[in-house]
Amino acid sequence: MAAHHRTRQLLRYLPVLPAVLLLLVFLAGPVLWAFHASLTNAGLTGRNARNPQWVGLENYQRLLEDPVFPLSLALTVLFVAGSAVLGQNVLGLALAVLMRRARPIVSATVGTAVVAAWVLPEIVAAFAAYAFFSRDGTLNQLLGRFGAGETDWLYTVPMAAVILANVWRGTAFSMLVYRAALNGVPAELTEAAHMDGAGAWQRLAFITLPVIRGSIATNLMLVTLQTLAVFTLIWVMTAGGPANGSTTLPVLAYQEAFKFGDIGYGTAVASVLILIGAVFGAAYLRLLSEQKP
């Protein structure tokens, strides 16, 4: 009887199988394969591609000795902190707050402009950003009007350029999250504070932000994870250069594996990135379960 019940229970969950298979083969499989391959000297072509040798932790040892790796790690932190945590998050919140005070037609139009940069295919957005920051691009044209000299932004300050480009590209997500969150703040709360004489900034700091803190935390996690994975924008704009000046971890993994043909070393970099993502992911899940006891 109990066995019969268990079979029924299992049969009920049969429809989950296709999804589970897809996830196991194409997501869990590559992750496990990455950890395995990072312990070998697998190559893109040649002898090491056919018969990779087990090399233990050699790739990770190389990682620690390679001066590019700490640089790349620092650039990744800078990129995520600058473009996601500060840029997209704060600008998205500011936009959402301003949109509630502005005329509907203005907020709808500006909202469309912000969302357009986000909905565009990533390669198109990357080319547009590249043209904008290039030597004879739009930014220099504008600055030239004010008498500023020509700077090659992508060479002199590559990180600033890709950070600004990513803010342009991704702010829409934070804006949409915060617009939804602000709609959920009870009007009585802010009105009561208004009656008590609280100014606009005070209402924002002491009423609105504490009420939407759950959304803030969720948004911070999601934009951090999205930004951690940004590859195309940086690759098109600077290709990680000049002299590794904008080589974040995804770009480094790609270069080592496909440009230099060292799959083993490239997957070691990728494994580090996966682990960082996993840590943030676990923190995110923790956050969600705390919000919803």
Binding site: R12, P18, L22, L23, F26, P30, R103, A128, A270, A278
Partner: protein
Amino acid sequence: MTAPKWAGRRLPQQQPGQPSPSRPRRVQPRRGRTRGNAWADAVLVLIGACFLLPLLWLVFGSVDPAAGHGTRVPQQPGLDNFAAVLTPELLFRPLWNSLLLSAGTGTVTLAAAVLAAYPLSRYQSRFNKPFLYGILFGTCLPVTAIMVPVYGLFVQLHLLDSLPATVLFLAATSLPMAIWMTRNFMDAVPLALEEAAWVDGASRLAALRSIVLPLMRPGLGVVFIFVFIQAWGNFFVPFVLLLSEGRQPAAVSIFSFFGQHGAVAYGQLAAFSILYSVPVLALYVFVARGSGNSLALAGAVRG
């Protein structure tokens, strides 16, 4: 907070010992609000202009036969660039490949998500919560990080340069979010409606098909379109997994405008970019108009 501070502003005529309210004082609160609005309008317009500026290059460049990096109003605007890219090799085949890739990914994802969402939504089990959180954890993995191992996996399984395999991979990456959204939409369909169908003798599958899915249609549309837009815009996955020119989608074939000798046809690149972007922009507008924006976010972000 001291009362006179706000009382003086909001109700000037009731303040004792004050001169009787003159006209300008009475409109003061309203003027204060419009001033706040004007200020918000100005800042928003400024930010909006900054967001539009990089896109202006695309629009102007596409109708300027002599386009370069810079943004300028075309001296002799014309549709030459569009005419030049309207060929099977440059435009139609890549767009067709993009369509196959995105529609395939959307279909596979939606089918697997609906099947998986049904037991997760309808049965109470200890299995549900760990499964859903495990899946959510999957959405957290940086997809670009697994592209190197996925390439290795595809080489070993001889799946490189295969459109169906690329579709399956793209479907796997969008599945976690799709399952969450679909389950949330399914939760919103009352169980009572389904039970009524069972009483009438319908099987679970028949009830799902004839009662639950039709009621979920707007939600399913949102999921499909979101997956479609993501797959359509994805560059890195087809760039790594699809090698032959004949199979590459528009995201990858765009590099054909970079000539072998460093010459870049910027005007054609801009025209192609616009033609390639219009379908997803239109789809997005279509979803957003049905308040799908908040709908999708609610489905995705809500726990």
